[in-house]
Assembly symmetry: C2
């Protein structure tokens, strides 16, 4: 791994209890349809009339699109200036409310656990809980999962 670049955020910058709030992602009809047509063309994601007639009451974003939008907000807020090494997975993901075109989404996160990785001493694991809300303050998605970050190099 390249040791050249210095980042703002290393494993040490995500202690247990650390909280951040960020993001203002505008959900467009075009992006909702484009994602759904490629990956999740169920009627309530691609067909206005069918969506009105569904449990959701209107055309809404694929849950995987919602995850992807959350990821973009995380990237812009901290991951792209971090020593992120990827993620082994997610422990729980809940789609609580539909996400509609026209919504503006934001994120809150809190660090639940942080520990060095037993097999790789230069790497640490961080378990985070994320909550995504819409412009009405309604939680639309929660996730709990893990990230791997390089530890801060000695000065």
């Amino acid at each position: 791994m390249s040791a050249g670049r210095r980042f703002r955020f290393y494993w040490e910058d995500f202690p247990v209890g650390h909280r951040m709030a960020f993001g203002a992602y505008a959900v467009t009809r075009e992006a909702t349809l484009a994602f759904a047509r490629e990956f999740d063309p169920q009627p309530f994601h691609v067909d206005e009339a069918a969506a009105r007639d569904s449990l959701f009451g209107g055309l809404c974003a694929s849950g995987w699109h919602t995850c992807a939008m959350a990821m973009r907000m995380m990237c812009d807020e901290y991951l792209l200036d971090s020593a992120s090494l990827g993620s082994p997975g997610i422990d729980e993901l809940r789609w609580l409310q539909p996400v509609f075109p026209g919504d503006t989404l934001s994120m809150q996160m809190e660090v639940l656990q942080a520990r060095p990785m037993a097999s790789r001493p230069a790497v640490g694991l961080v378990q985070t809980r994320w909550e995504m809300r819409n412009q009405h303050g309604q939680p639309v998605m929660t996730m709990q999962g893990w990230g791997m970050f390089r530890r801060r190099p000695a000065a």
Copy 2:
């Protein structure tokens, strides 16, 4: 909800222990980069040189792109001809191995639980475990989660 259309798959068609194997999704470099640039522009997803230097050893798909490709295979195999009503969430998601451009992905699923929904007698819940493998037979992702389906109408 429209009762007009008849589907091949209703809640009753996913009994506990039911298994399906399906899909042959070709991962392209163009799609890998397009998804990552929009949603997850971490260096190992968008920059060949940085990716070679990362834990992954080469440019690889965003984990959320991997989920989206899994969803597309599910849609094509059964969801689009089912009385699917969406999903409340995922209980566990593990990204086990990187997914690389040039890979061909396939899915296996098994139904773990199936029960009518207490609050909506016309709807049933199905808990499924999915495993995605690459062309070498390596598991690259596992997921366990829930789907809601309308129950089969009386004949």
